[in-house]
């Protein structure tokens, strides 16, 4: 049993923004609501559903792009009255206008998917936004358990169904993992009726991107797995046990400066920083 979500009554009204993009069905390539983004909307709607009508919590579902895009209707059909759209050329860079909008709107929680289903699909948007806003980012969130006294308790999805519980001070950005709860059904009536709340914004064309050509991603060939396990118990262990990272060290008692130095050294060593 998962614990029920709660936003504590003592907390001030919580403002949530779910960022949505236009998804692409993996089999047909047809436009749809993106899987992870719709989970982000679902989580936002669930957090709002506190059963306490005196609270003024709000959810804004935000898209940067073309407001006439039919893919957005899929989100609206989840029961949204409106979708806020920052109108810009879908090929333009969305990060700058999104960042400005969020800075002004000052939400407490921003929910996004891990990566888009089309376009660059680099998964960088949440990170770039976090950098711009100076907020922490929690990647691959499966659930938000509670928001209390300005601190959110978050469950992060780890491989093999494991979860890590984190406490994060508001405001923050969370990218929603595919392990989060399925999005509710999208219904045709509300989808057609929802308002597109349009705001025209300045955007700069993504010069680099213009020179790219897009092609469907190909699955990388998989390395053949040699099964070494001799018994069922070993196979079971191989399939379920948490893979233990090789090397590395746990630094718990050292000073923050020492810990930072160790991370810095590692990044240099791995060639992330030069």
């Amino acid at each position: 049993m998962q614990p029920k979500q709660s936003i504590a009554a003592t907390d001030k009204d919580v403002k949530i923004v779910s960022l949505i993009s236009v998804g692409k069905h993996p089999q047909s390539g047809r436009v749809r609501r993106a899987d992870q983004d719709s989970r982000a909307v679902e989580l936002g709607m669930k957090l709002l559903d506190t059963g306490d009508s005196t609270r003024g919590d709000s959810l804004v579902v935000l898209h940067a792009g073309d407001p006439k895009e039919p893919g957005l209707r899929g989100y609206a059909g989840m029961g949204l009255n409106s979708v806020r759209v920052l109108e810009l050329d879908p090929a333009a860079d969305a990060v700058a206008p999104l960042g400005e909008y969020l800075q002004q709107f000052a939400p407490d929680i921003v929910l996004t998917g891990v990566r888009a289903e089309g376009g660059e699909s680099s998964g960088m948007v949440p990170y770039q936004l976090a950098e711009k806003l100076g907020w922490p980012i929690v990647p691959r969130v499966a659930d938000i358990i509670s928001v209390e006294a300005g601190v959110a308790e978050v469950l992060q999805a780890l491989p093999r169904g494991q979860r890590r519980s984190l406490k994060i001070r508001l405001p923050f950005i969370a990218s929603i993992d595919s392990a989060a709860q399925d999005a509710r059904q999208s219904a045709y009536g509300p989808a057609s009726r929802a308002m597109m709340d349009i705001e025209v914004v300045d955007s700069s064309t993504d010069q680099l991107r213009e020179s790219w050509s897009e092609a469907p991603a190909k699955k990388r060939p998989k390395r053949l797995k040699v099964i070494k396990a001799k018994t069922a118990a070993e196979r079971f262990k191989a399939a379920t046990a948490k893979s233990q990272g090789e090397g590395g060290k746990v630094m718990q008692n050292e000073s923050a400066a020492e810990q930072a130095q160790a991370i810095f050294d590692l990044l240099l060593e791995e060639g992330v920083l030069r």
Binding site: Q27, M78, R184, Q185, Y188, R193
Partner: protein, 641 residues
Amino acid sequence: MIFEWLHPFLIVTALVLMVIGAVRRVNLWRAGQSDQIDLIAGLMAMPGRYLHDLHDIVERDKYMSKTHAATGGGFVLSAVLIILVHLLGIDSQILAWALMASLALMFVGALFVFKRRLNPPSRISKGPWMRLPKSLLAFAGAFFVLTLPAAGVLPEGTGGVLLTLVLTGLIIWGMGELFFGMTWGGPMKHAFAGALHLAFHRRQDRFGAGRSTGLKPVDLSLAHEVGGVLGVAKPTDFKWNQLLGFDACVQCGKCEAVCPAFAAGQPLNPKKLIQDMVVGLAGGTDANYAGSAYPGKDVGNAKGGPNQIITEGLLDPETLWSCTTCRACVEECPMMIEHVDAIVDMRRYLTMEKGQTPNKGAEVLDNIIATDNPNGYAPASRTNWAADQNLPLMRDVKEAQVLFWVSDGAFDMRSQRILRAFVKLMKAANVDFAVLGDEELDCGDVARRLGDDATFQSLATRNLAVLSQYKFSKIVTTDPHAYHCLRNEYNDFGSDALNGVEVLHHTSFLNELVQQGSLKLNNFTGGKVTYHDPCYLGRYNGEYEAPRELLRSMGIEIAEMERSGFRSRCCGGGGGAPITDIPGERRIADMRMEDVNTTGAELVAVGCQQCTAMLEGVVEPRPQVKDIAEILVDQLAEELH
């Protein structure tokens, strides 16, 4: 007789109250949505419809048809004559004798109603309905005695105060039931509402031995209106003549007796559903309902009103999702009520407004929207099954005598065996045919039965656009659901792609080939065979004979099940029921297999891939399940050259 003025006064009172009740009842119906019906033509046709269409259905139960003819006919005649003799006081011995004769007829009929109610089957409602035969006897008996003086049998003024009081009491009771109760909601309401229902029926094509089974399309422009509602949320969202239809119910429970979901212990009882709709249109609770409940649910908790959301208090959505849309209830209903229309109307609201299609419903609908097939396979893989079949594509040939509509069976390995068998038979008969290949889309049947009419309409218009590019004189399909959609439901979308095109089920088409001698068959020697009628082939399209003739042409003597032909029991696979999967106590497919087992058949012949899947899902040991095309292909006589 004393108090000469009393009885005419009572008759007038009862008639006035009846008229007031009628106006009130009509206003309840008028709260529904408008529908294009020719009122005058309907009223003119009504007596004929009563005597033919309705009576033909009642006639299946000879006891009841004779009883009803005597009681109902006697009553109508008596009512007219009572007004002439006792109210207008026309002094004619002939009229009085005629009245006595008709009352006697009614009395005899009522005795048979009474006899039937002594030990009533569980399907019929009790409560006020148990009172009805006694009321009929009171009415007929009292007026008979009252008419004796007018007929000259007894001198005027016979009888004392006591007799007058007793007679008056009986007359008040009788008229209370038969005049007052007719429009104020008693059991006799069925006569008033039923007559008008026959006149203003939403499916006028059903009369005169016609057939009208295609669902009516939803006006999708409502989706863009503020305050618009897709489907039926509240009783007033039904068409007015649907509300009228609910009121016509006689609670005979014929629907309940044939409903596969009810028999499986799923929470659906078509009779209770219609009664709940009556509660909804009139307002109130179901506390007075005196028939079988929805299995697993108690009576008395349902509350509703004309402007209250039906699925919030009146009806559990599970009831709606239990229906397999097999139309067995509609076929049995002597009042020609349309249960399935009402159920799908309410499903439409749940799916298109609330987004509450249960279990796998949402996933299947999402798949259909994104990939045009219910399982989310790549649209470009639709023809993979026929990689070795060398099928001509319409895209290449543009024209063929027969268009073979493959259906979503293309994605299912079991159904592919049926498709291959059918292709082999067509090739053996040198049929000039072609397929649409990847241009074919899901026919929309499942989406529509799950209430997503928007997706159905999108699929239908896109399919029609593809079809309109090519020339063919026949469409043949092995899937009765696609057959039904193409034949009966694609006509509402303003396309002429199917004008002049004959839509055929493969059994009808194969039967033509065999009768023409294009297919030579060996005799079947595989033991006893029975045939299961698919709902969408039989009840929806009236094709009972072609599959049987095909089987007979292989020398098979069909061991018929008790429930076959128009009474065939559903396999449980229709209406998206396997997708919404509402729990019950038994599985419908298991019950159908028991029907098969009682015939002792070793093979059950089927004409539908959905039925094949459902029946083959029954645990072994059980008889083999084969599509007729598969049986035929095994008996195909090899020609020697």
